[in-house]
Every structure is written in structure tokens, then in C-alpha cells.
């Protein structure tokens, strides 16, 4: 069975029903639908935020410090666990976090490591381009008729992982929409002298043409096109694009996240989650756009970066909880690897990934790194595939299902050897 086809066909039915409803704006039936499911007491749909610390954050300066190394230690609100002095707020919220301290993959260089951590696979494993986590998730649970793109990357930067954030073999339909700092969805409004009303009247004629075409030309292509067109029109009409307008937030809220680039990305992530976007990837960096590849300039850079992270990550946890969204929103905070204990070099062999929310069993650390910070203790090394399987389980997605790609090849979602970190459930 091809899950792709099934979902498209289902989607077509849904979209056609909406179209045939006539003059009703696109979003109203959906809103009604949402209200209905809320009223029926169903659990809210799962969503995911990836806080991406590109460049490789130093675990020794953050979530896995050791006494007498480089930084002061703070006792967290979970006995026995300590954070660095740069993370005072997060230390008070350790009960809402789960640490995996034995992350491990084989690649030392940024390029290949980014691919591991965005796709769960080695570069071109099996000779195919693998979809990113966001693409996997939105393929499984994204709504084809959503008013906003299902998968967005905030502040993506230029160089890192050109393709690894993309849809891979699922196709460009599952690529993220890239949102630059301070901007909204590109191309929402017609260019030149064409007005929105004009587009609207054209669109209704276009719908009529498409309807008669679809009647005699039933195909996945026509159905897929119909879905994308519907979504584009929905975006143009949607009030949800207001989520991009951060100025709607009171100044004190903006300040609570930090008014720098990192804080604004986290605040936008929260607003997008609130309007139902299933996967938001926020690439966190300092005001100059630099990430976490702190070589010789450590520890000063680490102090700056982690103090920013402490502020915005904490605010995000608080707000999601206050809105009742933390249980249904799984947060991942990680880079492509960690660093050597002094923070200077890359370390792909043993490093820390942080999870939060999503109904996971938080307030615990999976494994530890021994006295030297370099020895996996109390737990097996956790591979990118293991992490992906865990995250997908957390989002209610069957990671053992597969895809069928071009030429009829069956491929796995995550590596067949991947094992869920069961302790988190």
C-alpha cells in the first residue's frame, strides 16, 4: 500500500467537499471542524518544534557540565541533575525536559552530520535523498488543506544542509517554507496592479475549469494540483498569517523571549503552533547570524548563546504550558553533534539532545557520560534513527511503516534497526 496515494485521495475528497460548498470561504468549514473536534473532547493534534542549534552546541557548557571543568554548576529542579551557570531558567524547568546524553553518529564533519540529524540517515543511504524530519512528520500528519504551510523553517541561514531540510524522495511538496527574520510567507499578495478581488474572481473561473477537467481526468496529478491550489488560495485568504506579526504581542512578552533574533524565532514558533502548524523548525543563532560552531572563541560565545537559549526556550515552555499545548507539542533541541569537553572541537561520539513536551516522561536524563564526560554510562549509544523513531512515536506516527518511491521501491521511514528510547513513554 502506498500511504502517499491514500492520503492524497482522502485529501481530494475533503477538498472537493469544501469546494462544492460554494461561496463559503475556505477557512470557515475548517474552523468549524476544529471547533467540533475540540467540543467532542478529542485530544488536540500533535505538533512539533525543532530548536536547531546548527554548528554543534557544547554539552559541557550547557546540559552536561562536570564539576571543575569550565563553568559553574547549577542544581536543577530534578535532584542529581546539573546544568551550567548559563542556564538558570532552564534549570528550574528540568522537570519539563528529557535529556538524551548518549547521542552518537559516525560523522565528524558538519555536512554529513547535519544530514544525519535532519534525516536520520547517512548521506545518500541506499542511494536516495531522504526526507527531513519535518517532511516525514507533515507527510504523516500535515493537513493538505491547511491554511498555512505545514512545515516551516524559521531563519534558515544560507549554507547549512542545502537539501537535508527538504522533502527528499517525498518531493518538493514536502519541502519547508523558509521564513526569513521579520518576514512572512512569500508571494502572499499579487504583484503589480492585479488586486485580490481580481485574483478571487479569476480563481472561481479556474475552479470551474478544474472541476470539469477532474471529472474526466481522474489522476493523482490532478488531485495533487487541486490540493496545492486550494492551499495557496487558503493562505491568501487566511487570517492565520497574522501569526507572523510579532508586534501583536505585548512588549513584555516579546521581552520575555528576548528581542534578539533567537527570541523572535521562538516567539514566532509559538504563534505558529498556536494556529495549528504541525512542524516548525526554528534555527537559533545570535544577532549576527552566527550559530553554535564555537571553536576558539569559546567560552565567551557559549556564554552569550546559551544565555539567549535559556531565556527563549524557557519562555516557550511556559507559554505552551499556559495555553495547554505543551502536552501535545513535542520539542526537540539539538544540533548536528556536540563538542569536545573544552568546547573547541566537534564531538559526534557522545553528546546531548534535549526533548520536551509531547506527553513524554520528562524530568529524566537518559544515560550519562561518566566522570570524564566521554563514556556512555547507564544507557546504550542513541543513534539518529533511534531518536527519529522516538520522536515519531511521541507524535503518534508509525515509524515502522514505509514509503514507495519512484520506480516502485519500498523504503523505510527510519532505519529498520532503529530502537525507540522506551524510557520516555
Amino acid at each position: 500500500m502506498n500511504p502517499l496515494r491514500l492520503s492524497r485521495r482522502e485529501a481530494l475528497k475533503l477538498s472537493l467537499a469544501t469546494t462544492l460548498a460554494g461561496s463559503v470561504p475556505w477557512f470557515e468549514p475548517l474552523r468549524a471542524h476544529a471547533a467540533q473536534s475540540a467540543a467532542s473532547g478529542r485530544t488536540p493534534p500533535k505538533q512539533c518544534i525543532l530548536l536547531w542549534l546548527g554548528g554543534g552546541p557544547s554539552q559541557a557548557h550547557s546540559f552536561d557540565p562536570k564539576p571543575g571543568e569550565h563553568v559553574g554548576l547549577l542544581q536543577t529542579n530534578v535532584p542529581g541533575l546539573h546544568f551550567s551557570e548559563y542556564l538558570p531558567r532552564l534549570a528550574q524547568r528540568m522537570d519539563k525536559l528529557a535529556l538524551i546524553k548518549t547521542m552518537n553518529h559516525p560523522n565528524f564533519g558538519h555536512g554529513d552530520a547535519v544530514i544525519w540529524m535532519h534525516t536520520g540517515y547517512r548521506n545518500r543511504d541506499g542511494g536516495i535523498e531522504r526526507p527531513s524530519l519535518g517532511s516525514i512528520v507533515t507527510h504523516a500528519i500535515g493537513r493538505p488543506d491547511a491554511e498555512l504551510p505545514n512545515y516551516m523553517v524559521l531563519d534558515p541561514g544560507q549554507a547549512e544542509g542545502l537539501f537535508s531540510m527538504n522533502g527528499g524522495h517525498l518531493g518538493p511538496r514536502y519541502n519547508p517554507l523558509k521564513v526569513l527574520p521579520g518576514q512572512s510567507i512569500p508571494d502572499q499578495r499579487p504583484e503589480g496592479s492585479v488586486t485580490i478581488d481580481e485574483i478571487r474572481s479569476r480563481a472561481s473561473l479556474l475552479e470551474q475549469m478544474n472541476q470539469s477537467f477532474l471529472q474526466h481526468n481522474h489522476s493523482d496529478v490532478a488531485a495533487g494540483h487541486h490540493n496545492s491550489l486550494s492551499q495557496a488560495l487558503a493562505i491568501m485568504r487566511s487570517s492565520k498569517t497574522r501569526a507572523f506579526n510579532l508586534d501583536e504581542e505585548p512588549i513584555r512578552v516579546q521581552e520575555r523571549y528576548g528581542r534578539g533574533r533567537m527570541g523572535q524565532a521562538c516567539l514566532l514558533a509559538r504563534r505558529l503552533i498556536e494556529v495549528g502548524v504541525p512542524f516548525v523548525s526554528a534555527h537559533l543563532r545570535d544577532g549576527l547570524g552566527n550559530g553554535w560552531d564555537t571553536h576558539m572563541d569559546t567560552p565567551d560565545r557559549n556564554a552569550i548563546l546559551f544565555r539567549h537559549l535559556d531565556v527563549c526556550f524557557s519562555a516557550l515552555l511556559d507559554d505552551l504550558q499556559a495555553r495547554g499545548l505543551l502536552e501535545s507539542t513535542l520539542i526537540i533541541c539539538m544540533g548536528e553533534f556536540g563538542r569536545s569537553r573544552d568546547g573547541i572541537n566537534h564531538n559526534n561520539r557522545i553528546w546531548t539532545a534535549v526533548l520536551a513536551g509531547g506527553g513524554l516522561r520528562t524530568g529524566q536524563s537518559i544515560g550519562s557520560t561518566g566522570d570524564n564526560g566521554l563514556t556512555a554510562t547507564g544507557y546504550r549509544p542513541v543513534s539518529p534513527g533511534d531518536l527519529f523513531a522516538t520522536v515519531l512515536r511521541g507524535l503518534g506516527i508509525d515509524h515502522t511503516a514505509g514509503y514507495t518511491i519512484r520506480g516502485g521501491r519500498p523504503v523505510d521511514i527510519v532505519n529498520a534497526n532503529a530502537r525507540v528510547v522506551e524510557e520516555l513513554f
Binding site: E129, L177, D187, G192, L206, G224, A232, T404
Partner: protein, 537 residues
């Protein structure tokens, strides 16, 4: 013993078929005969599975389909009108010949193969310049050079020829092609086999392929490297197997490159590139060990074995791929996994096409012509919701206009967009239309529409509104009745005339518009954003 005989199955039977190539006239003559045999094999299977074949496509459907399939372009307004008004019984066959003889044919297939080569490692290759290679490959296809010769040239190039793109796209990094990548890619794309699995371990499904066999092939590339061309201002490099000149004694960085003598290669440990598992000698997959000189060239031995008519996978893989390009599905799927346990849906048909390919001197056009002449290719793709889904070619599958093809088709209707040479600022991360619609690195299914809302928004709100006024101004330069203008726009974009309902609806919109120009801009917007425009059916 029998470890590498898979590639030489049932060879005695084939040996009799590999006589001298037929003349082009003979091959052309034979194509309609081949088409009939294609239909016999397809219909036989349809009877077995009790599925009724769909009716023949009408002229408009065929016209647009065959243009897009063979040239990646829409028919021009004039060509479309002439074909639809034509009465000649042989006009479909004539059109196929005409398209295969047009320069666009070579360009289109060169684009297809270039994309395949680039996406073997998109992350590494996407920034490579492809223009010269594509032009070279297009020329080969247009001149009717056999596929065996084209592949041989790419595998053995030892100068600065653009054909070297293939080996450059299979580099690991730095100054030489990766022998393992060359062998893995060549096996996948030219033989349709997953030999690459044997790079790190013995092949899981095909036990006969051992790790040593894979590296035995890789050893033919053990000496291949790039060398800077002396005095080249463009930092041009050539591909060679010769020993490098001794380092300049004055140079600070005396890097001495040692090339293995006589076709040997180290098998690296897949988990630690610095460790060597073993060293093996060059050996072909049929077990033969050619006599190699100390310093090469060694690659011609590999190329000869790969493209030899005795290596039946070579023709099968190409024939299967050509079929899949037209039907969105191969006779064997995945296209790069031909193996005895993965049977073709139509074994006799695959053998027929492979045989025709071989006997015609690996003539791509002969196979395409034969398929396009068949009833199977010329069936409609029309389908109501009650028609069953079928993978036995009872009707044509709808594909979508992918990346570059889509943009070129837009250019045909809107007029090519002038190239603006503005340099991107360093912090400009906005995405251009070509990049947004780039499908070249994906492996998604051509029968599933791949674009999402961002691409739709770009067309609806930016590209079409920006470019339509100039296109409509050109249209209106020739005075014509509204119905004629509408017909022209339909022929240009959909290669058909509007139905009565469509005319009525759209002409009413034009009549209401502030100006006629504004009205036609709306029409062109509707046509280019329609499901029918992106459907390659």
C-alpha cells in the same frame, strides 16, 4: 565458482542476435513492426488480468503528450493548429519522426540524464556547472550516437572534454573521481543493478556479488585523477591515468601522489576510512582478469565489459528506463534493481525492447519511435472515478510537468523572461523561481504532483501577473475576434481548442474586464494555473 555469472545469463541465445547493425532506413521501417509486437505483449497481459484497454487518445491529447515526452516542449500555436486540422492518416507517425529529428529531442534527454547524474549526490553536485556537458550530451543524442558509445566516452574520457562531467560528478571530494562511486553509479544507472550494496559488505540479495567483486571493478579506476591544465586561465582540469609530473622542487607544499601500478585498489573500512581491509586486483564481474599495463589506461576494460552486448543488463536497463520515462513506471521496478528475483511485469516485452536496442546499435531513438508508434502509448489517460486503477498499461498514466520543463513551457506561452544579471547580496536568502521549481534532485514519483502552496503562490501572484501583460500585448498586435484570441491562448498552452462552455465562460469574463487586454491576462492566468496545464497526460 559460479559467483559472477549473473550478468551473463542465457548468453548463447543472444549471441546470435548481435550481428552487424541494421541501416537506419531498416530500423525506421522496423519500428512499426516492433510497435505491433509491443501491443501483442501488453494485450496478452491485459487478457490475463482481465482488464480492458482504454480507447485511443484523441489528436489533441496525443499531440501534447508526444511533444512533452520527446522534447519537453509544447507544440507551437501553428504546429498545434496544423496537426489538429490535418487529415493525413500517417500524421502521428510523421510527428514522432519530426520530433525525434528536432534539436529539442537531444536537449530534453540530455537534461534527464544530467539530472540523474547530479542527484546521485545532490548535496555535492548541485552547484556543478552543467551547461557544457548538457550541450555535449544533447549533440550525441541528436547525432544518433549509440548509447554504448556515449557511456564509453563518459567512462573513459582522458582529456578536458565536457564528457568528463560524469566522472567529476562521482568525486568524493578533492582531486580525483571516487572509484567506488563511479562503479556504484555506473552499475545503478547503466546496468540497473544495485551493485553498490557490495561496496561495504557482500550483497544481501544477490549472494554472487561479493565485496571483492565490487572493488575488483573499482580497481579499474584506481589511477584516475584530475590534473590541472598548464597555463589554463580558467583553472581547467583534465582527467588522466598518467603518473603525475614530479613536484616542483621550489614548491613549498611538496605533495607526492602515488598511483597504484597495474590495477590494484585498497578496500577501505566503511567505518574508518583510514583503515584498509584488503587490497584487490582489477577483475571484471564475469571473472575475467584483463591484462593491464602498469600505468594504464585501465578504464577502457571496464567500459568495454559494461557496454558489451554480452552484458545483457546494459540494454535491459536502458530499455526499461526509456519505457519508464514515457509510462511513469518501468517494466521492472525499481529501475535500478534488475535482478533475477525481481521479475519484469512483461518479460517478453522487456526482452523485445532490449533486443531492438542492441541490434539497432543502442539507438535510443529507435526504441522511443517503436514505443510511441504503439497503440499502448497512444491510449487515452482519461479516467472517470469508476475506472479501475491498473499498472498493466491499459491506459496512459498522467505525469506532471516537472521543474525545468514546466518553466520552459511557461516561457513558451509568456515569452522567455529576460535574464537579469543582478548579483545576490550576501544576506539575500530569497528564493528565485527556478530554484523554487527545481525538481532535479528529487526521486519522487512523476505520477504524483509534487509542488505545494509556495510554488502555486509564486505562479499565481508573481510570475504570471508580471509577465502576462507583455504576452497579451503581443497577442493583440494582430487584430482578431475575441473567439480567435481565446483559441490562440488555448492552443498555445493546452494544445487544444476551447469547448463551447469554456468559450462562453471566459469570453464573458473578457467582455466584463476594464480592457480586453486585462481580460486576456485573466484568461492566460487561468490556463497556466490550471490542473490541465501541469498534467502531462
Amino acid at each position: 565458482m559460479n559467483r559472477s555469472c549473473l550478468l551473463v545469463l542465457s548468453l548463447t541465445a543472444l549471441a546470435t542476435l548481435t550481428g552487424p547493425s541494421r541501416t537506419e532506413a531498416q530500423v525506421r521501417l522496423d519500428a512499426s513492426g516492433v510497435a505491433k509486437r509491443i501491443d501483442i505483449f501488453v494485450e496478452k497481459k491485459l487478457r490475463e488480468v482481465k482488464v480492458t484497454a482504454a480507447p485511443r487518445a484523441d489528436d489533441a491529447e496525443f499531440l501534447r503528450r508526444v511533444h512533452l515526452d520527446l522534447t519537453g516542449r509544447l507544440p507551437t500555436l501553428e504546429k498545434a493548429a496544423a496537426f489538429l486540422d490535418g487529415k493525413e492518416p500517417e500524421r502521428r507517425a510523421k510527428l514522432i519522426d519530426e520530433l525525434l529529428a528536432s534539436p529539442e529531442f537531444g536537449n530534453h534527454f540530455a537534461r534527464y540524464w544530467t539530472e540523474l547524474f547530479v542527484k546521485r549526490d545532490g548535496e555535492l553536485n548541485s552547484k556543478m556547472k552543467t551547461t557544457e556537458f548538457r550541450a555535449w550530451l544533447a549533440e550525441q543524442f541528436n547525432k544518433g550516437v549509440g548509447w554504448d558509445q556515449i557511456v564509453t566516452k563518459m567512462l573513459t574520457v582522458d582529456d578536458t572534454s565536457p564528457a568528463g562531467f560524469y566522472l567529476r560528478a562521482n568525486r568524493l571530494n578533492g582531486d580525483r573521481p571516487s572509484p567506488a562511486k563511479v562503479v556504484g553509479t555506473s552499475a545503478a544507472l547503466f546496468l540497473g543493478t544495485q551493485l553498490q550494496c557490495a561496496e561495504c559488505h557482500n550483497h544481501p540479495y544477490t549472494r554472487e556479488w561479493k565485496q571483492n567483486d565490487f572493488w575488483g571493478l573499482a580497481a579499474f579506476y584506481g589511477r584516475t585523477r584530475y590534473e590541472n591544465v598548464a597555463n589554463s586561465k580558467t583553472r581547467e582540469t583534465r582527467i588522466t591515468e598518467e603518473d603525475p609530473p614530479p613536484p616542483d622542487p621550489k614548491a613549498k607544499n611538496k605533495k607526492v601522489v602515488f598511483l597504484p601500478k597495474g590495477g590494484k585498489i585498497d578496500i577501505p573500512d566503511p567505518l574508518d576510512a583510514k583503515k584498509v581491509r584488503a587490497t584487490v586486483d582489477a577483475k571484471l564481474l564475469d571473472g575475467s582478469v584483463p591484462k593491464l599495463s602498469e600505468t594504464g589506461p585501465h578504464r577502457p576494460h571496464f567500459a568495454r565489459w559494461l557496454t558489451d552486448t554480452k552484458n545483457e543488463y546494459f540494454a535491459q536497463a536502458a530499455a526499461n528506463r526509456l519505457w519508464a520515462i514515457l509510462f511513469a513506471r518501468g517494466l521492472v521496478n525499481p529501475l535500478d534493481d534488475l535482478n533475477p528475483k525481481n521479475a519484469p511485469s512483461h518479460p517478453e516485452l522487456l526482452e523485445l525492447l532490449a533486443e531492438e536496442f542492441r541490434v539497432s546499435g543502442h539507438d535510443v531513438r529507435h526504441v522511443l519511435r517503436s514505443i510511441c508508434l504503439s497503440d499502448t502509448y497512444q491510449r487515452t489517460s482519461k479516467r472517470t472515478p469508476t475506472d479501475p486503477e491498473d499498472d498493466n498499461f491499459s491506459r496512459m498514466k498522467v505525469k506532471f510537468l516537472q521543474g525545468e520543463v514546466l518553466l520552459k513551457c511557461l516561457d513558451q506561452v509568456l515569452g522567455a523572461e529576460p535574464v537579469v544579471a543582478t548579483k545576490k547580496k550576501r544576506d539575500d536568502t530569497s528564493i528565485g523561481t527556478a530554484e523554487l521549481f527545481d525538481t532535479s534532485v528529487y526521486d519522487d514519483n512523476p505520477a504524483n504532483y509534487s509542488f505545494g502552496a509556495p510554488q502555486m503562490l509564486r505562479l499565481m501572484n508573481v510570475d504570471v501577473p508580471r509577465r502576462a501583460p507583455a504576452a497579451i500585448a503581443r497577442l493583440l498586435q494582430t487584430p482578431a475576434e475575441p473567439a480567435q484570441c481565446l483559441e490562440k491562448l488555448f492552443l498555445q498552452s493546452l494544445a487544444r481548442r476551447p469547448t463551447a462552455d469554456e468559450s462562453k465562460m471566459l469570453l464573458a469574463h473578457v467582455a466584463k474586464a476594464e480592457t480586453p487586454a486585462r481580460g486576456y491576462e485573466a484568461v492566460v492566468w487561468i490556463l497556466l494555473n490550471s490542473a490541465e496545464f501541469v498534467s502531462h497526460r
